[in-house]
């Protein structure tokens, strides 16, 4: 009888023990999200970029975006004519270059620009550059703090991201919704140093392409102006063998021509 009681007690407690043993912490979820976004060896995406004002008027651009790992990024504008050929290369947080074809010159740009809008879009230079969430932020799982959130949205983790001590980033905190199955973020809210919500990034149409999950549509909205930038994937390629020396000034000029 005593043995049976122990077995029943163990069986009753197992789900709780198992849940705590297998539950992911906020930092682990953030790491998984970072890995999911940077999963391929490399990625080449041609995207339609639509800038939408609060009154509904639109401007359209086409860009080609190359990424390798979580730090190398190269972006080239393919249209319209007045910014065609403008190129941006990011090799790390403090090593970025801009190519302006009218001057035939690559110019190094310092990281003070990171919080600025990238070429008039709602994405900042920091958004377009490296994706190193875990190096910059500590994540707290919100459902662990408030179990009611789990019932509200059982399919997503909600993370509160705070900058790591001593790290210089543009936002005082971020709130990120991460899909429990794909670990691709579904939405991110960005807060200013004063604590105000300044931007909202939503990820939609998450599809598996070449074995990697990727949002085929992303929308960044600036809350104050209600201006939005929508990125829609036109063409996407993975693991095409982009070498490290693809992400150089030499190739920035070459891709921009």
């Amino acid at each position: 009888m005593k043995k049976l009681s122990i077995i029943l007690l163990a069986a009753a407690l197992f789900p709780l023990v198992a849940k705590s043993a297998f539950a992911l912490t906020g930092d682990e979820i953030l790491k998984r999200a970072e890995e999911a976004m940077n999963a391929p060896q490399d990625r080449t995406v041609t995207e339609k970029m639509v800038l939408i004002k609060a009154d509904g008027s639109e401007k359209e651009r086409t860009i080609r975006f190359y990424q390798k790992g979580n730090d190398k990024r190269l972006v080239v504008f393919l249209s319209p004519a007045d910014i065609k050929g403008v190129g941006f290369l990011s090799l790390s947080k403090d090593r970025m270059y801009l190519y302006l074809p009218a001057f035939r010159k690559v110019r190094r740009i310092a990281s003070h620009i990171k919080n600025e809008d990238f070429m008039g879009t709602d994405f900042s230079y920091e958004n377009m550059a490296e994706t190193k969430y875990t190096a910059d932020y500590l994540a707290i799982l919100q459902q662990a703090q408030d179990s009611a959130l789990e019932k509200e949205d059982p399919n997503q983790y909600i993370l509160e991201l705070k900058p790591r001590p001593g790290v210089d980033v543009s936002y005082s905190r971020q709130r990120m919704w991460v899909d429990k199955e794909t670990f691709i973020p579904a939405k991110t809210e960005y807060f200013s140093p004063g604590g105000k919500l300044v931007k909202v990034l939503t990820y939609e149409n998450i599809e598996k392409v070449d074995g990697y999950w990727f949002p085929m549509k992303m929308t960044m909205e600036t809350v104050k102006t209600e201006h939005r930038t929508v990125l829609e994937v036109l063409e996407i390629k993975h693991d095409s063998g982009l070498a490290d020396n693809f992400f150089t000034e030499r190739n920035l000029k070459r891709q921009a021509r």
């Binding site: 800038l51 004002k53 401007k59 359209e60 319209p80 004519a81 007045d82 065609k84 403090d94 090593r95 001057f103 035939r104 010159k105 110019r107 190094r108 740009i109 310092a110 990281s111 003070h112 620009i113 990171k114 919080n115 600025e116 809008d117 070429m119 008039g120 879009t121 709602d122 210089d168 140093p193 102006t225 201006h227 020396n245 150089t248 000034e249 030499r250 070459r254 021509r257």
Partner: protein, 419 residues
């Protein structure tokens, strides 16, 4: 020898032109045509608004990726000036004088990437080779002559015929340039006096021989998160100097060598850069008078930039030696500050630039300074269209650059359409 060079180089440019325009006909999807039309009205505010000049510029650029490793580009620039002031109806022979126009070839080159070796890129033809890390004031940028034809197109250079090779070796790039012919500065219409101080009766160009060809070498690299380059140039100064006044004023272009160093980096998110060039000119005499000493002199530029949290961008540069200045003891000092702020997702940009010039920083500054002020508003009502309203205001003591421009204060309005 000159015939041999011409026989090698001119066909390249000619074949470029023929190929690109032929390609437009046969394979329009492979050739891209771009360009812009810019029209601006400039009001000389010292003389009243009725003296406004109109400048028009049409640039056409055709480019083609002939293969993943071969690229070719050609650009043509067409300019016209002013509205004609007619007293009678012009006849055909008077059209040019009443409606002055310029048509010039901009760039015309072929790029051969991974030429023989994966790490070697070649570029042959008329091209702009921009060197230096500073913003617009680049004392190491001596391969293309200055283009002063448009006073508002500050820092413009004339593309010149060159063979350029870049060899990539890890974090290092070795660049070699050979410019077979010398090409002089381009002056504004009727602007020789204002820039040279005198109008030459004749100029003597360097001989078009192999030994008078110009060449340059540059090694670029990165260390401690700092981009830097070391450069050497052997050629000619693009601004002439008097060398004979016995039978009219004759000017020539002094030979010079330039050793340069530039760098760019950031410190705690503050961008900084610097550029130094040591000039070694040949001595030029007019009779017994030394017009240009062979003493070496150093031009340099140092700058910082920063974007504040509210989006205001600030750039400050200290410049020792303007484009037109040369010779030890003749270089003025300039502090240039510009502030700009963008609004409406970059559609609206407000800029304010200011400059303080000191002719003799060790002497009496109160009698040797000049100032400039350059406010500008630009607005993009839609993609590919830009409207700009600005002013160029200057003042200064006698002998200063800004003092020499003080009668040319301008307010301008520009409209640019890209296609």
């Amino acid at each position: 020898m000159i015939k041999i060079i011409k026989s090698l180089v001119y066909p390249v440019i000619l074949s470029n032109v023929i190929f690109l325009f032929f390609a437009v006909e046969i394979r329009s999807e492979g050739v891209e045509m771009n360009g812009f039309l810019e029209i601006d009205k400039r009001f000389d505010i010292n003389k009243g608004v009725s003296n406004g000049d109109t400048y028009g510029k049409l640039k056409l650029e055709a480019k083609a990726n002939l293969s993943p490793d071969i690229f070719s580009l050609i650009s043509l620039e067409f300019r016209y000036y002013d509205f004609p002031v007619l007293e009678t109806l012009p006849s055909e022979g008077e059209v040019e004088s009443n409606y002055p126009v310029d048509l010039r070839l901009g760039e015309a080159y072929i790029e051969l990437d991974q030429f023989i070796w994966d790490n070697l890129d070649l570029k042959l033809g008329k091209q702009r080779i921009a060197w230096g890390a500073a913003d617009e004031f680049n004392p190491t940028d001596n391969l293309n002559p200055d283009d002063f034809t448009d006073s508002l197109d500050f820092g413009a250079k004339v593309p010149t015929l060159a063979l350029k090779g870049d060899y990539y070796l890890g974090d290092y790039t070795i660049t070699g340039v050979w410019l077979p012919f010398f090409e002089p500065i381009l002056l504004p219409r009727g602007g020789a006096l204002s820039l040279l101080g005198q109008v030459p009766d004749r100029i003597e160009l360097p001989a078009k021989t192999l030994d008078k060809g110009m060449f340059a070498l540059k090694i670029s690299g990165m260390a401690f998160n700092l981009d830097y380059s070391l450069s050497y140039f052997k050629g000619f100064d693009d601004i002439p100097v008097e060398f004979d006044n016995s039978d009219g004023l004759e000017m020539s272009f002094p030979a010079m060598q330039v050793v340069g160093f530039d760098f760019a980096g950031e410190f705690r998110s503050l961008g900084f850069w610097g550029e130094m060039a040591m000039f070694f000119p040949e001595e030029v005499k007019s009779g017994t008078d030394v017009m240009l000493s062979n003493d070496s002199y150093l031009k340099h530029t140092f700058g910082v930039d920063y974007t504040f949290k509210n989006g205001i961008y600030l750039e400050t540069q200290y410049v020792h030696g303007f484009f037109t200045e040369r010779g030890r003891g003749n270089l003025h000092d300039y502090l240039i500050v510009s502030v700009d702020r963008k609004f409406l997702n970059d559609d609206l940009k407000l800029s304010l630039g200011g400059a303080l010039e000191v002719k003799d920083i060790r002497g009496n500054i109160q009698d040797s300074y000049g100032t400039g002020l350059f406010p500008e508003i630009s607005y993009r009502p839609t993609d590919n269209v830009e409207l700009t309203l600005g002013a160029f205001l200057s003042d200064g003591k006698k002998g200063t650059l800004f003092g020499s421009w003080k009668d040319w204060d301008q307010v301008y309005f520009k409209m640019k359409v890209n296609f």
